[in-house]
């Protein structure tokens, strides 16, 4: 079976590392980036799902989500927004994100959401 590919953008390397371990344990292929702007350059080899931190240095997650959701080739990729602030849930939804995770999230919650959108 081909592994589902998860792309995670977060400017915090510690978060990237543990989320990568967890999802790899669950059988996902995981790619990470510290720089949110990398997502604006996605042309081919799209992931099956994107996990996106709202608050990143340089660019914010909402801008990236809006860009990807307005681009024909990436419109259908599910995006889960991650934030330490649950009040940003509404703005995440406005920018087109499919779901929301609030830091610190439960492992099970992360896994079940990623599963839900990649099945």
């Amino acid at each position: 079976m081909i592994k589902k590919k998860v792309l995670i953008a977060d400017d915090n390397p510690e978060i990237l590392e543990i989320v990568k371990i967890i999802l790899e344990d669950e059988g996902f292929e995981v790619e990470v980036t510290l720089n949110g702007k990398d997502l604006l350059k996605l042309k081919e080899d799209f992931p099956d799902i994107i996990l996106l931190d709202i608050r990143m240095s340089g660019i914010d997650g909402n801008t990236i989500a809006k860009f990807l959701k307005n681009q024909e080739s990436s419109r259908n990729i599910p995006i889960i927004m991650i934030s330490a602030n649950r009040d940003t849930q509404a703005t995440a939804a406005e920018s087109g994100a499919d779901d929301f995770l609030c830091k610190p999230f439960e492992l099970e919650e992360l896994i079940s959401k990623v599963r839900k959108y990649t099945n």
Binding site: N12, I15, V19, R55, A84, D87, A90, K103, P104, L107
Partner: protein, 442 residues
């Protein structure tokens, strides 16, 4: 003595007589000398005395002592100056607004607001007020309309004026958000009183204090707490992740390790709760709480929350009476948060009991979640304080009941923001009943 030596020296006597001779009548007002040498101010009229043949035979002067009048006038003038100086040296801005068209208090709030914005103008103010708005002096600002400073589009200002109406036109320590001459935002704390004439409001008096600096400090504090909370949550997230990963990878083979990992996880949960509580208080106090409203079944939520709390509670059994569908539109997470707070308290403050009862009820316009415990209860003397910030149960050993004392404050304030309410009944030594009501439609 009609003419003093000095008068004579100045030839005032001659001048007056000349005038009488010329015009037949002369008036003057000056200081005269009494017999004892003291002065008195008098106004006088001099006329010619004419004999039968029409020849001037002498002069007559009628004097009126006006010393007291002059003194009173001087005192008034001095008093007036003192009063003006008092007003202008006040650190508070003092003002009088007039209404070009008197306002009937019988109009609706909206009509009154419209009328105020249409007809109110600044009729008088002290220099302090002018400077508060960036003007050089009061002359520059007098005549200004309400909307020039108290911008109508700002909901805070509409609320401020509504409260003025609701307070029966006597409002104290009310905050307004205004703009100065340079269009910079300034915050004021106001005291104002409406003046009635024949049942209509014709003017308002008031004083105000600039609290912009305090606002800025509060804003910085809120931002600081926001940044700190965010920065604390990031390492917590990775800690939590590692704990859960370790538990998953090695916990099944090593139950003891798993037990310890769970303890760390519980502590992380506590820390998260503390951070969220301080963030919530900041948001509630600054009015920045955002709600995510959606439709949900209250009974399903209640059962989910009870399951969640029950899973980490060994001491108590939580009984649920929540049947059927109870659909409403509200912020599900926040409703859940209040219920978790109420359940945690019910368990925390009933160490001798072994059960808590949660019931949901449906009334005509609202749903109720009722949480009943059989614990230590709240003494009458403390019942009006339990929703205050930082209130903690007054028990001998406060270590028995740890916490920031923010849970009930947050729950109470949240309930209000969710268009609902939180009330309670309690008897010391018997237990407490908390009732959260939420409207069926928001």
């Amino acid at each position: 003595m009609i003419f003093s030596k000095i008068d004579k020296k100045d030839k005032i006597n001659l001048e007056e007589l000349n005038n009488v001779n010329k015009f037949g009548k002369a008036r003057d007002e000056r200081w005269h000398v009494k017999k004892d040498g003291s002065l008195f101010r008098a106004s006088g009229v001099i006329t010619n005395l004419v004999d039968k043949t029409g020849k001037v035979s002498g002069h007559m002067k009628i004097l009126k002592d006006i010393t007291r009048e002059i003194e009173t006038e001087r005192k008034i003038r001095e008093g007036d100056e003192r009063y003006k100086s008092f007003l202008n040296n006040s650190s508070e801005g003092i003002w009088r607004f007039e209404l070009e068209v008197p306002l009937s208090p019988k109009l609706t709030e909206d009509e009154q607001l419209d009328s105020m914005y249409k007809y109110a103008y600044l009729a008088e103010c002290n220099e302090t007020l002018a400077k508060m708005y960036g003007f050089k002096n009061s002359k520059e600002i007098v005549g200004a309309r309400l909307n020039e400073f108290l911008i109508k589009e700002d909901p805070k200002n509409i609320e401020y004026l509504r409260n003025f109406i609701k307070s029966d036109y006597r409002l104290m320590n009310a905050e307004s958000k205004e703009v100065d001459r340079a269009k910079k935002i300034r915050y004021f704390s106001n005291n104002l009183i409406g003046v009635f004439e024949n049942g209509m409001i014709t003017r308002a008096w008031g004083s105000q204090r600039d609290i912009t600096d305090q606002y800025e400090i509060i804003r910085q504090k809120d931002e600081f707490i926001g940044v700190i909370s965010h920065e604390l949550k990031t390492p917590l997230t990775s800690m939590k992740g590692y704990i859960q990963m370790l538990s998953k990878r090695f916990g099944e083979k090593d139950p003891e390790l798993n037990k310890y990992l769970l303890k760390v996880d519980t502590q992380i949960l506590k820390l998260t709760k503390l951070i969220n509580e301080s963030l919530d208080v900041t948001r509630i106090d600054s009015g920045k709480l955002q709600l995510n409203n959606a439709s949900f079944n209250l009974n399903t939520l209640v059962k989910e929350i009870v399951d969640e709390v029950q899973s980490i509670t060994e001491s108590h059994t939580i009984k649920v009476k929540a049947k059927g569908k109870a659909l409403l539109v509200n912020d599900k997470d926040r409703v859940g948060q209040i219920l978790i707070n109420l359940l945690s308290n019910a368990i925390k403050y009933s160490p001798e009991a072994n059960k808590v009862i949660v019931t949901t009820r449906s009334n005509k316009n609202s749903y109720h979640i009722i949480v009943k415990d059989f614990g230590i209860g709240i003494p009458k003397s403390q019942q009006d304080k339990i929703f205050d910030r930082f209130f903690r149960a007054d028990v001998l050993n406060s270590n028995t009941f740890p916490g920031l004392g923010l849970g009930l404050y947050i729950s109470y304030e949240l309930a209000k923001r969710l268009s609902g309410s939180l009330v309670f009944k309690s008897i010391k030594g018997k237990g407490s009943i908390f009732n959260l009501s939420l409207p069926k439609t928001v």
